[in-house]
Subunit: 449 residues, 2 copies
C-alpha cells in the first residue's frame, strides 16, 4: 500500500521541516497503512512519523505495530511519551505494551495515569500469555438491568467514547455479575420506556478468563459474536474479547499450525523480519531429532544388505515405495490435524475415521501399486513387479494409518496434535516402509535374510 | 455441545407427539448448537426438528448447515417450504441456497417472493463462486447524505429489521454511488441536527464485486472492519460483506492451504462427512504424480550402482541424507507460503529472503553435518565421516533453496504458491540429494562412476 515515492516525499518533507505538509499528508492514511509505512522506515524516521500524528491516531497506529517494533520504539521514548500512548490506546493493547516494557519502567510510565485506568492496565497485563484474559479489554459498555431503554441509551452515550464496542452492551449487577446482554440494535428498536431486564438476552455465551485464546476465538466464530464476555471464577464480568481480536488469534493459530506441520517452532511476529538466529533455533530442533529418526531407516537397509547385494534392482524402487507411504501418511495426518483445529473432527470420531481411512488407503495403494508394478515389470520382470506392487499397497496402508493415528495419540499424551508433522510422519513411514519392502522381497524372491 | 441423552429425549418427545415440550426444549438452543444437533440426526428427524422452529430461527439454523445437507433437506421440502426459508434467510445465504437447488425449481420457490427480493436473490446467486459478489449480502442500511442525524436514525430504525448490520451505515446518492459511511456509534453521539454529509467518513475502503473472496476477507481483517462495501464496475454500492463471513472465508482459506501443503485437493465441506470417493479423488492425483517424481531418485541410485556395490555402508546413510534435505526444504517452503498467504511476505522480498535462507540453511546444514559425521566416523571411519558431513551441508542448503524458491516460481507461473507442498519439495530434494551424495562419495572415495 506504500510506495517508494511516498516514502521519499515524506522523508524529504520531514528534513525540510515542512511540518504542515507532513501532517496533512499523514492524515490521508488508514492506520493499517500508516503501520506499513512506519515498519519500512528506520527507527528515527518512524519516531518522527509517530510524533506528527494526533494522540488518538498515534495510539491506534502504535497498537497495530508488531511487538518487536513496539518494544524498540518504546525504548527510544521518554516515560511521558509512553504514558501518552497508554492513555489513548485500547486497554488490551495498552496492557500488551506494558508487558513489553522492562519492569523498572512500569512505575514511571504509569505515574501520570488515573488510578482506575492504571489498575485496569496492571490487571490486564497480569494474565498469562495465550489466555482469554491476555487478549480481553476492560473497556466494555455496561448497564444495570432495572433502567429503561432511554436511560440505557444515555448511559451508553456517556461511556461510548471509552468503550471498544457499544454494539453489544452487557447487563451487570452491583457485584459485576453478568445478568444478560442487549445489542444496540435492540436498544434502538425497543420502545423507550421498556426496562432492560425485559428485553435483555439471558442465554449468554461466555468464556473463562483462563481459557485458551483459540477457544475464545472459536466461540466468537461459531456463534458469530461481535464481542464475547469474559468471566472470572466467580462469574464476574472482567472483560470482553471483540471479533477483530478473534480474527487475529485465528490467523496466528493457523500460522502456528502450518509451521508445526513442517516442524517449525512457534515463531512470534513476522517471518520476513525475524532474526536469523531465532529462525535457526526454531528450525534446528526437529531437524536434528529427525536425523536420528531417519537412522532407523538406514539401519533397516543395512540389515537387508545381502538382499540388496543379490538384487541391486530393488534399490531403484526404494525411494518411490518409502516416499509414497510418507506422502499418503502426510495427507491423512493433515486432514485430521486441520479437522481437529477447526472443530470439524472430534476426538471421539477416531474409530470411524480409522475405518474410513483403511478403505481409502486401500484404494490409493491399489492404484499406485498398478502404476509401479508396470514399471517393475519392465525393469525387473514379473517377480519384481509382484514385490513392488504388494509392497506399495502395504506401505501406503501402513503409512496412512500412521498418519491418521499419530495426531490422536499425541493428543492423548497431552501434546498438540499438530506435532504430527509431515516430516515426522514421513520418517516413521520410511522406517516401516524399508522393513515391509525388504521383508516382502526376501519372502517372494526366496533370499536369505 | 449436544449429547446422546438430549437427542434421545428429543426423538422420544417427537414420537410421543409432545409438541409443546419439543418446542420449548428447542427454544433453549443457540442456532449453532441446533445446527450440530440436526447434523447428527437422520434426514426425517432433521426435517421434523426444523418444522418445530419459528420461521426466523428455522432460516437462521438452515443457513448454518453445510451445503450438502442443505441440498438434501431442500430436496425433501415442498416449494412453499423452501420459499418460506428464502424469505426469512439473510440475502447472501438465501442466494447460496438458491444455487444449491436444481434450475427447474427456481421459478417454483421464487414465485411467492416479492419482486424486489426475488431480483435481489437472482442477482446475488449469479456471482461466480469464490468472488466477493458470491458472499456479499444486499441487506445493508443506506441513507442519503443530506438528511439530519435524527432523520437518519429514523431511516435506520425502519430498515433495521431487514439489514444484516446497522452498525455500519452507507451513505449513497440516487444512483447508488457510495459517498461515505457513518457508524451507528457516530450517529448516536452526534448532535441530532447535524447533517450526515458533515459527519460521514469519505475515505472508504471498498472491494470490487469480482475480487477474490480471500482478498475481501483480508481487507476486513486488515482494517478491522465490521462490514466492507462491495462496488460494481461503475462504483455503485451493490452489497456488503460482514466480518462473520470474512472469518468463515479466512478459516476455509487456511484449511485449503493446509490441505494443499500435503497435496490434498480442494475439499468442500467437512472432512469427517466427505464421501469416500471424493476423498480418494482429492488425494490420488498428486500421489500418482509423486510416484513418477520419485522414480528419478531411483534412477539416480541405479546410476551409482557400482559405487554402492563397492561401499554398501553408503546405503545406510542414504535415507537420513536425502530426508534431511526434504525436511529443511519443507520448512522453508512452508514459511514462504504462509507468509505470502497472510501478507507478511511480498513477492518483491524474494531476493532478500533467498539471501537469508542461504545463511540459515548453512547454519542448519553445518549443525546436522556435525551430528551425522560422528555417526559416520563410528560406522565407516574418517573418509565416510567426511563424505556424509559434506553431503549433509550441501543437501540441506540445496533442499532449503528449492523450498524457498519453488513457491515464488509457481506464483510466477500463475499457480497458487501453496502448490509447493512438502511432498513435492521433498521429492525434488530427494533426487537432488541422491546425486549430490553419490557424486561426493565417488569423488572422495576415488571410485569409478
Amino acid at each position: 500500500m506504500t510506495h517508494p515515492i511516498i516514502e521519499s516525499f515524506l522523508r524529504h518533507s520531514i528534513e525540510r521541516k515542512d511540518y504542515q505538509v507532513v501532517r496533512q499528508f499523514l492524515e490521508e492514511f488508514q492506520p493499517a497503512d500508516l503501520c506499513d509505512l512506519i515498519q519500512q522506515e528506520p527507527l528515527p524516521t518512524a519516531l518522527d512519523i509517530l510524533k506528527f500524528l494526533s494522540y488518538e491516531r498515534r495510539a491506534s497506529v502504535f497498537g497495530y505495530l508488531p511487538n518487536t517494533l513496539q518494544e524498540q520504539l518504546a525504548a527510544e521514548m521518554s516515560d511521558d511519551d509512553v504514558s501518552l500512548l497508554l492513555k489513548h490506546m485500547d486497554a488490551d493493547e495498552g496492557a500488551d505494551l506494558l508487558n513489553l516494557l522492562p519492569e523498572e519502567r512500569h512505575d514511571g510510565v504509569l505515574r501520570s495515569i488515573a488510578k482506575k485506568e492504571r489498575e485496569d492496565l496492571r490487571r490486564l497485563a497480569s494474565h498469562s500469555e495465550g489466555t482469554a484474559g491476555a487478549i480481553m479489554t476492560s473497556d466494555y459498555a455496561a448497564i444495570p438491568a432495572h433502567v429503561k431503554v432511554s436511560e440505557a441509551l444515555n448511559i451508553v452515550r456517556t461511556t461510548a467514547p471509552g468503550a471498544e464496542t457499544i454494539y453489544q452492551i452487557f447487563v451487570t449487577d452491583g457485584q459485576h455479575q453478568l445478568l444478560g446482554t442487549v445489542s444496540l440494535r435492540e436498544l434502538i428498536l425497543a420502545p423507550q420506556t421498556v426496562k432492560i431486564q425485559d428485553i435483555m438476552t439471558t442465554d449468554i455465551v461466555t468464556v473463562s478468563v483462563d481459557a485458551a485464546q483459540e477457544d475464545a476465538a472459536k466461540t466468537i466464530s461459531r456463534y458469530d459474536l461481535l464481542a464475547l464476555p469474559v468471566i472470572d471464577s466467580e462469574s464476574r464480568l472482567v472483560g470482553i474479547i471483540t471479533y477483530d481480536d478473534a480474527m487475529d488469534v485465528a490467523e496466528a493459530e493457523a500460522t502456528e499450525d502450518m509451521h508445526k506441520s513442517a516442524t517449525i517452532g512457534n515463531l512470534e511476529g513476522n517471518f520476513r523480519d525475524a532474526r536469523l538466529l531465532t529462525l535457526y533455533r526454531k528450525r534446528i530442533v526437529w531437524l536434528i531429532l529427525l536425523v536420528f529418526g531417519n537412522l532407523f531407516s538406514g539401519a533397516g537397509i543395512a540389515f537387508f544388505e545381502d538382499t540388496i547385494a543379490a538384487y541391486v534392482v530393488l534399490v531403484f524402487f526404494l525411494p518411490v515405495l518409502v516416499g509414497s507411504g510418507g506422502n499418503a501418511g502426510s495427507q491423512a495426518a493433515t486432514l485430521v490435524i486441520r479437522g481437529l483445529a477447526t472443530g470439524d473432527v472430534d476426538l471421539k470420531d477416531w474409530g470411524r475415521l480409522l475405518g474410513r481411512e483403511l478403505v481409502i488407503a486401500s484404494g490409493l495403494g491399489l492404484t499406485m501399486a498398478i502404476a509401479i508394478s508396470m514399471v517393475g515389470h519392465f525393469r525387473g520382470g514379473d517377480e519384481i513387479a509382484l514385490v513392488v506392487g504388494l509392497s506399495m499397497v502395504s506401505i501406503v496402508i501402513v503409512g496412512s494409518l500412521v498418519g491418521m493415528c499419530l495426531p490422536f495419540i499425541l493428543n492423548r499424551l497431552g501434546w498438540d496434535p499438530a506435532t504430527a508433522s509431515a516430516p515426522l510422519v514421513t520418517t516413521i513411514a520410511d522406517s516401516a516402509g524399508v522393513l515391509i519392502y525388504f521383508s516382502i522381497a526376501t519372502a517372494i524372491l526366496g533370499l536369505p535374510v
